[in-house]
């Protein structure tokens, strides 16, 4: 590119992250740490029942308690319904509660303990109603209707909705009937996955403060500050320009902090009391009323020929949204792309349903749809291989997509590397010896994932000392993505990483960013930074040209200077000069990752029909199963992930290791357990996330098959590592024991006694 040195000096290197020192020394201020003078504490009264009519809600006794400063209920807030795909969610329950954990009232008091006691003092009388707790049952014609007014709700126009079905979508092509009729073998299996909590360390937290002129500031740990700004404006019925959202620091989100959680309660209580209010969730609230991964039931039917080539696939995804649609319609539909997998599928007919039930309104946990659908398709690939007497690696390699093949929506696939990922993961795990000892086995799984679109804007400003500030509305969620974007900027400006400072995550001062979601931050912010850097180079080269009388084209940026025609002018000199003559050096850059063209005849009612800049990956695991206790011990774990270009290999490996740890939890231990609509394990004693002793050393192989759009060819990195672990582990357990578990988590009990108790 014009004016850039060709040798790469900053990107591709294992540099320390910009937010690292503050985090490891405890100096970093997270939203949960944030406090203001005179601040009150808010607590939320939540429904104890899964479905009931509110007969009485009386806050008089609570309001009279010493230390209580304000209470809000549905009677005090605008009757708005909000929601990402379907506007079905009220701030507080009005006439009915729809799940155990739904907010009914919120209290602000001088201490959290008083606020909690006041919640208990609120008289809430409920008349239980018939309820429905699984998606299949919710489809029955006589099932209780969660939203009798569903037809009146605003929703994305693409969605097809009816009754308890929040969204129905379809992907199909080819002659499925003929393919099944001519098949050598047909396989049909049913898989189930549970509700799982994202497991971020920091609870959801918000501090809200109103200024005298009716402007609101909320400091919170949202992943999407600009979306939060819009939603809060809607809920509070004020112009969005009066809402400022600031993310001081965020202690993990994994998709669980995409949507409004406690911010609106803080804002409403602050408005009611005239004082700043902080609301922070408890562990019990996290496990009953957060945004866990949706539960799914997936039926997959596959036709193959004698050589194991896939002929057709047919399937149905039932994804349980819970009481409100939230991210369910999108997640359910994406399940279809993951069910196709990175496989050539000549004929296809898949259907996805996002279904309301009287359980928690679920959300989009890291790679929403990914682990669930991959567990189904990759388990079935091994079943097919076993039945045909083929090696599971060979069966996959026979069917994987190759460069230029069409994806499920008919899009042309580019940067396809799944075969290489599979071969390298298999080689690293020692695949040729799949059952090295009794009760020991190896498993493989592969998948693909998107680099989500959405736009990014940045300002880049050069200080008079020649250093740069990257001002972005993006959130550093903990992946190191903004260190990656800063590396891109430093590279493009001939600076070192330590010359770049990142500022932003403030909707008042920073340009728009679509937010920390969908493995897009380093990709999109990096690209926007490149655009801004090109403009700064132009400005710097013009200043150098003016000073030397040489043409602008004679100059390039290199090692903190503008260099050309025998001149070497420090960037700092030109930045100072610009402050005197031209208002300083500043540039704006924007980027949007455009969705590739696809064939609309293959897709019905799908909100996300095609993957942008897809990534490919394969996982391999070597484990033992104790035949007596069912205990699984993982000896070795390998991930071969195509990252396009590794902007900073260290932090990519961190994403892979963390994703595998989460995936091991999904595979073996994590489940929010309900009985009759009530959570039985709303604590971290019985909600079992893996510990350091449960997670093996993870070996990462970074495959670099560049994307056309990403900075230096980079692809999205953050979400994929948690997609394959359940399937890879399921396949290894089957190899070790000869038995297969069809539902997650694959507990020791299921391994030993079988499913169904």
């Amino acid at each position: 590119m014009d004016g850039v040195a060709t040798e790469r000096r900053v990107v591709g290197r294992r540099l320390p992250r910009l937010d690292g020192a503050g985090k490891v020394t405890g100096r970093m201020v997270y939203a949960a740490d944030f406090a203001l003078p005179g601040m009150l504490h808010g607590k939320v009264l939540r429904s104890p029942l899964p479905h009931a009519r509110i007969r009485r809600l009386d806050v008089a006794a609570a309001r009279a308690m010493a230390g209580v400063r304000g209470i809000v209920t549905a009677a005090d807030v605008p009757a708005v319904r909000y929601g990402t795909a379907v506007r079905d969610t009220p701030v507080f329950a009005t006439d009915r509660v729809l799940f155990q954990g739904q907010a009914v009232a919120a209290v602000a008091a001088t201490t959290p303990e008083i606020a909690e006691a006041a919640c208990r003092a609120i008289a809430l009388e409920l008349d239980p109603l018939p309820a429905v707790f699984d998606a299949e049952a919710a489809l029955a014609p006589d099932a209780p209707l969660l939203h009798p007014d569903w037809a009146s709700y605003a929703a994305l126009p693409v969605l097809a909705r009816e009754g308890n079905i929040a969204a129905r979508a379809r992907m199909r092509h080819g002659d499925v009937e003929a393919a099944f009729a001519s098949a050598h073998r047909i396989y049909e299996h049913r898989f189930a996955t549970p509700l799982q909590h994202p497991g971020y360390t920091e609870p959801r937290a918000a501090v809200a403060a109103w200024e005298g002129d009716g402007r609101l500031t909320v400091w919170c740990n949202t992943q999407l500050p600009f979306d939060m700004q819009a939603v809060l404006a809607e809920i509070l019925d004020i112009p969005s320009g009066r809402v400022r959202v600031v993310v001081p620091g965020i202690g993990g989100g994994f998709g669980g902090k995409l949507r409004v959680g406690v911010e609106h309660y803080a804002a409403l209580l602050a408005r009611r009391t005239g004082r700043p209010v902080k609301v922070m969730t408890t562990t019990e609230e996290e496990l009953t009323a957060a945004y866990p991964r949706q539960a799914t039931t997936i039926t997959l039917r596959t036709a193959v020929d004698r050589e194991g080539r896939l002929l057709a696939r047919q399937g149905r995804v039932l994804l349980e949204c819970g009481a409100f649609a939230n991210s369910g319609p999108g997640s359910a539909a994406i399940c279809m792309q993951i069910l196709v997998g990175p496989y050539r599928t000549p004929a296809l007919d898949l259907e996805s349903l996002a279904v309301y039930t009287n359980r928690v309104a679920a959300g989009s946990f890291r790679a929403p749809a990914g682990p669930m659908a991959n567990f189904a398709v990759e388990s079935q690939m091994d079943i097919i291989a076993e039945d045909l007497g083929m090696d599971p690696l060979d069966l996959r390699l026979r069917n994987v997509v190759r460069e230029g093949d069409l994806g499920p929506a008919g899009e042309a696939l580019a940067g396809v590397s799944v075969a290489e990922c599979l071969e390298r993961a298999a080689e690293a795990i020692g695949w040729r010896e799949r059952r090295p000892a009794p009760n020991r086995g190896k498993g493989l799984a592969c998948s693909w994932w998107m680099t989500t679109g959405g736009s990014s804007g940045v300002f880049v400003r050069l200080a008079p000392d020649g250093t740069a500030t990257l001002v972005s509305g993006a959130v550093e969620i903990g992946t190191g993505a903004l260190t990656g974007a800063a590396q891109v900027l430093a590279e493009e400006l001939g600076l070192e990483l330590e010359d770049v400072r990142v500022a932003g995550a403030d909707t008042r001062d920073a340009p728009f960013d679509y937010g920390a979601q969908g493995s897009r931050t380093a990709f999109s912010v990096g690209n926007a930074a490149r655009v801004a850097a090109a403009e700064l180079r132009r400005q710097l080269c013009a200043l150098a040209a003016r000073r030397t009388g040489l043409p602008q084209e004679a100059f390039r940026l290199e090692r903190r200077a503008v260099v050309g025609g025998g001149h070497r002018i420090p960037i700092a000199d030109l930045a100072r000069e610009s402050q005197l003559s031209g208002g300083g050096l500043i540039a704006h850059g924007t980027y949007i990752n455009p969705a590739p063209p696809y064939d609309p005849t293959r897709v019905e009612n799908h909100p996300l029909p095609v993957f942008n800049a897809p990534s490919f990956h394969a996982h391999a695991v070597d484990l033992s199963v104790d035949p007596g206790t069912g205990e699984v011990t993982i000896h070795d774990y390998v991930v071969a992930q195509d990252v396009g270009f590794a902007i900073n290999p260290t932090w990519i490996e961190g994403q892979i290791e963390g994703g595998v740890a989460q995936g091991i939890g999904e595979a073996l231990s994590e489940e929010i357990v309900y009985r009759e609509g009530r959570v039985l394990n709303a604590n971290l004693t019985d909600y079992k996330m893996p510990t350091a002793q449960d997670v093996p050393r993870v070996r990462s192989i970074l495959v670099e098959c560049p994307s056309a759009a990403g900075p230096y060819g980079a692809k999205g990195v953050g979400e994929p590592p948690c997609i394959e672990p359940p399937a890879a582990i399921a396949n290894a357990i089957a190899a070790a024991t000869g038995r297969r578990v069809f539902s997650l988590p694959m507990t020791a009990e299921k391994i030993v006694l079988g499913e169904g108790g």
Binding site: L668, S669, A748
Partner: protein, 294 residues
Amino acid sequence: MSFALHRPTSLAAALALAARHGAAARFLAGGTDLVIQIRRGRLAPAHVIDLSAVPGLAGIAGTPEGGLRIGALTTLKAIERHPAFAGGARRALAEAARVVGGHQVRNVGTLGGNVVNASPAADTLPALLALDAEAELVGPGGTRRVPLDAFLLGPGRTDRAPEEVLTAIRLPPPPSAASASAFLKAGRRKAMEISVVCAAARLDLGADGRCVAARLALGAVAPTTLRVRAAEALLEGHVPDAGRLAAAAAAAAAATRPLDDVRASARFRRHLAGVLAGRALAACLGRMGNGEAA
């Protein structure tokens, strides 16, 4: 949550406080159970008597008759690291202490607290039962000793009177030269885990290879930690061959009265009880074969 916190500096002062406040008071040792129960609203004592300043309640010492006295405030970490349990006949106790919670819990959690808390799933209790432990209590009437299996009455219930302090756990000397013990635990993860089932065993063998004494105890399968006397009877007086061990393991599974809960089904707990009991007994034999026995 509000209570008066007392910090007596002598056992006499602690006993006086307990006598004054009776059932309204709770003793605080490591606090890893008590504080959680208070925070969750399951206990609401008006008085908390912190024992940490009472001298002499922590530490492990030999007794004149060849046994061990473990002060009630001895931390689980201290037991995990003490040479008296590193191998030999009492190894089961270190194996149990090592898998309670995580490092932070074991650095403050105490053996006495674990015993008085009397959880049916407590890890140290099966090991203590296998080692014929006694509880040493001091109250207004002086000191008394109670065999541990008589001391444990039900979930959270013991034979301790409110005005008594559990001062120590005492382990007798092993009754024969060839003795070994073992503890095993099954859970959903490898640390920070409450046992789904745990099991401890001890075997003492005479010179003729016959079993002089057998102990088998199980956790998390009944309202209290369960000593399986039927299994012990199948072993005592016999050479513990594979058939005897299998019969004892089957008797252990049959003796359980497990619950269905969020951690496991009753059926799986019963299965695990048999597996762990058989393995714990086999481990005892294996350790004697390795010359590891005391």
